[in-house]
Symmetry: C5
Subunit: 323 residues, 5 copies
């Protein structure tokens, strides 16, 4: 095996300290991934040319207007205008901005060349029941090519009763992405009644499974949530119900399950700066390629967000790695 | 940001006065929208060449025969004949008439060149249950091209359990509209049990969300209802449940959520002239691009409708804006 | 408006007299319909070259073997053989015979050039539940072109919970019919639980709505049943619940709702000659283009049917009209 | 009418005697069917070149392994190997063997040119509930062309709640069969709860309806079961509930309902030789084109099956007819 | 019949002894299968060029990460990295490795030419209910061609209520496999409530049926589980409920039902070496072409797995057979 065998777990403290414990995990080399030239060219643009570089990814998502509605923009009214996020992504030197077709077609032309675009290809509103969670396509890989995007994003609900339709749709997207050399980023979210009964969507069991599903189905990059230990873990299948890993160890496990799919950590709801930075450092140390923080970024005033971004750049520099 | 930052909210009175309160909101410049040439050419025809011009839209819809049945025509029996609406649109100098394939194929040829056509692409009858609200296609973008239409209309039911089929269908329409340079007008209607439980389909929460969904999914223009405050708003998610905005402020919020999708206000059931004109003025002041009034127009006798139209033209002239 | 404004209603007696009351309604001129050349050529063949001519339609349908089964043929055993209907259509100088692909492919070649063909494109058996009434395609417009048909027929169930699939399928048929210049005849049938609750499938409310739906969706000709007043009309939406029109007036209303879609009256179960002829005369007087009588024709012995046909020709001559 | 009018019913005894009662019914002439050249060429191969000839069909089906599972092969273990049926069809000079794609691709090459192939295009297992009976495609008309088959077989479940999907699928098969000149044999089986309530799947009502459906939908040949009178016939719609026809008369009725679709009688479970031969003779006398016997053939030892086949050939010779 | 008729059953002991009882069953000759050149070339590569050769197949599957999640990798943590399985397949001289698109695209390039690839084309997670078991496509035959795979794998759930969708999907895969000359390996798994009621998914009834279904639907190779006798067999349809075959006899029956589809035995959960080797020997003796063992291989430490593999090679050599 030619990749460094450094992803081994190490005993964790159960907390996320200033300095993450365990050995630093190296990310897969881009050249080991067997990528076709188009994917390689576009991923290099995201990982090395734009944003913090050094093989890391700092992504600003703005699909919450669809997933949650304008409710998320009240915390920072300026953020209702998509130009706020575009300018934050540009001025904060993000690796890319991720959004749906409408925000791409109407706004990206002003920022083209200044911030790379990840076209999010499917979504839904949060209004009706989530029992059969499934996100229909809002755009296509061909749209992404036409718009000059450097990657596409797809949400798969792992565990949903609608998984057959989801896999079918994802396969079509994956095939088009292969055809056009477009990197595929999979938002891998555990969802559904069966997940709830096995520890819940934040459990290591569910997130670990979701990461592997993304790898198996052809993701180049997988976006996962950070697993959260809880009493409900006791309902997870063995041996998860008895693992009791610390958060960093648990996340390192997820990164290993993702294999050669690069891992993005999602932010979730807004938290304090200290918590955020500790989580980022722990993630990078455990082998993550980067982060995708939305509300934790654009719900802050612009200056505060830019300051935080500079701190993230500093952390990312520590984890730079050649291609 | 190059567009004027004038869409800021201002304290409202809770009523719609003769002179709307707050600063006048400017509409997005056509040239800021990144539109392909075909969309630009057609939108200019609608916004500047026909109708009141100056970047405004005065649209006459006649799809009620499908949505409600002939029942809507009893108030003005002459309106049962589609020529009544065509002639009203022509003689009242509307920007366009909006209708389904059958009324386009059988009648538009007599009015071609005199009144622009918006081909409505999907619809349903009001007879069966609305629980899984979804409007199937009745025509295609290609039909619109063949008939010489200047835009297409699509109804999306935001919040319906059938949203996945709706998004899928809308995406196909949107992609065809992009391919042919055909402007896409989205009728964004909150609908379904979950909406009813969160304040209802007329709540600011629901209409604000619907406007944003249209923007995210690629609408060039979005048609929304004017939000109506009610006691049920208390069931909307925070912070909507505690906003207590006046109607004009509420509508201004919706226009902001729509971003670079131009906003059309729909009329709903017939109201008095004074109410109607006040609503129009408030809408234009808050940043609307125009109105789409059906029953409020063609349920009136022709002379009365034409007189009202002249008053609308006068208001629209006040809100003219270069492209 | 260039068409005569003669479709006005007139007070009716509540019965169908020898001489229909009210002014004679003129049918839309073929040249006012904006038809493409192929549709015009084929419709002229049906309306002027074959059958009674003068712009009228006398259609013999034989799809009951699919819709009801062979049960309908017991009244006249000879009618079980499709040649019976073909020869009746030929010898009685019908405008066309309407049937499904199987009866077209296996028998039409013997009568080609002698009687025009309307290929019925969808159908179902009467065996399973009608709750989600929907008729799948049995043939295509391309089949009709290949077989030398002069029109196609499509059944839409207005009010069925399956209306979205129905509209989708009808749109595809309509688009193909436009593409090949093939006239589209829509069998517009109210159906479903919601219809039953609003006065039923024979109510003016339901049939009036169905006629309009056919117009809106692109029918060139619409086949409707004659509305039947009943106590259940009280459950129809206002103002239908209080209209109390006589049968001829009610039918005239339906013809008006159909606009520029020509109207065919269907026969339903077999009735007496006097009733039949009175109904035909009243229909033609109210603006119908013709009739489509199946069981009322081929359940009679051949001589009786031919004699009746001659009487229909005589009535139709009274209502001849130039193209 | 150019075909002999000899299909008239005659009083029957209620039993199936050595010599069938009533006049011998002639089958439709191949040249009266309006078939395209490809269908004509292939049907002549089946009806005149191979098998008993003289316009008759002796078909050996072997799809029971899919429909019932290997359970049917225990009666004659040698029959588990598909070569048993292929060799029986070849050595017994059957008109054709009917089977699914797998048995065609893996075995037919050894017998090509010796026994014609009917490719069965859809099927299902007998394991799950039959309530929504529907057989998905296992092969296509194009497969049949590629393999050198002379006809295709399709099972339609008349009366099933899934009839819309069934009709849709059958239409696609029928259209492809028309395109490639491939004869279409329809297995027309009554099925479903509604059928059970109207006399059951073996009732004359149900089988008569099924035969007509096959004709209407474009079958060139229809395979039906022999109707079986029972007390449940009283639940059939009038006039079936009061017909009381003998078996031969009942079958003659079905043949008439099938019109110009040639009729194949299916065998069902294994019965005695005498019963079988009497049924065959009665069927041929009543106008059947042939039989399709599976278990009644290959559940017998080879010598016994071949002897029986010779007797069938003898009967078929009596009913030979020019093309 | 040109193949040796040696698959006859023989009385078994009810156990799996060191030396299997009964005559050794020969496998179908590759040249008897009527395969197109592409399938023949690829199958020869799998059966004779790579792996143990002599017409046998030793396949290493690694799709458990999708089907079960990472839970299966805890027994041997090294196995979480797909390179572990690739290297085991290469160093243990397996005939092929079987996995999904993601593991193929990201890892196969390092092992191309060293170990053949079977691209598994459909799958699902084990999270939601299995009641309507159905595996959606994750890849296509075209993907397999592009990646240089030598076969494709497809899972069909025999007995699932979703069998119609499954058959439909399998047919499309089968047709593509025919088109590209790609061997088709069918994972034939009994599943669903109806199976549970007829003896269960491990019963001879169910597995025997599944094997035949694979043959009928066009499998070149069928993967089955080894049937397990139990008290529930009494609920199987006759005569299965009274067969009482020993395990080797039962398996021999399944091989016979599979006809000219080559048979792979799957491993299931990890068992002892002695049990495993006895099962392999019995399977090969009964006519199996090979085995597909996953957890029984890669849940062992590498050295132990390689040692076991050498023993399998030795057994396979005993059952070598010319093409």
């Amino acid at each position: 095996m030619s990749e460094p065998a450094v992803r081994a777990s190490s005993p964790g403290s159960g907390m996320t300290p200033e300095r993450p414990s365990g050995a630093r995990a190296h990310r897969p080399s881009l050249h080991s991934l067997g990528l076709p030239p188009g994917k390689l060219a576009r991923l290099k643009r995201l990982l090395y040319t734009h944003g913090p570089g050094g093989g890391t990814l700092l992504v600003l998502p703005i699909d919450q207007g669809l997933e949650h509605g304008p409710v998320d923009f009240f915390a920072n009214p300026a953020s209702l205008d998509p130009r706020y996020q575009y300018e934050l992504a540009r001025d904060g030197r993000f690796s890319a901005i991720a959004l749906h077709i409408g925000l791409a077609e109407k706004y990206f032309h002003e920022y083209a060349g200044e911030v790379p675009l990840i076209l999010k290809l499917n979504g839904k509103t949060g209004i009706p029941s989530d029992a059969q969670a499934f996100s229909a396509l809002t755009g296509t890989v061909e749209d992404a090519v036409r718009l000059g995007a450097d990657a596409v994003g797809y949400t798969v609900y792992v565990g949903s009763p609608a998984q057959d339709r989801d896999f079918h749709q994802l396969r079509e997207v994956r095939a088009e992405a292969d055809r056009f050399g477009m990197p595929l980023i999979v938002w891998a979210y555990p969802r559904g009644e069966a997940v709830a009964k096995k520890g819940g969507r934040e459990s290591l069991y569910a997130i670990d499974y979701a990461a592997r599903v993304a790898l198996e189905l052809g993701a180049d990059v997988v976006k996962v949530n950070y697993p959260v230990a809880s009493e409900k873990d006791a309902e997870s299948p063995a041996p998860y119900n008895a693992l009791h890993l610390g958060p960093e160890e648990a996340f390192r496990k997820v990164v290993e399950s993702a294999g050669r799919a690069l891992v993005l950590v999602s932010g979730g709801e807004k938290v304090s700066d200290a918590e955020l930075l500790a989580k980022v450092r722990a993630s990078m140390h455990a082998g993550a390629t980067g982060i995708i923080f939305g509300r934790n970024m654009w719900q802050r005033p612009r200056d505060e967000a830019l300051r935080l971004t500079r701190e993230l750049h500093a952390i990312f520099r520590e984890y730079a790695q050649p291609p």
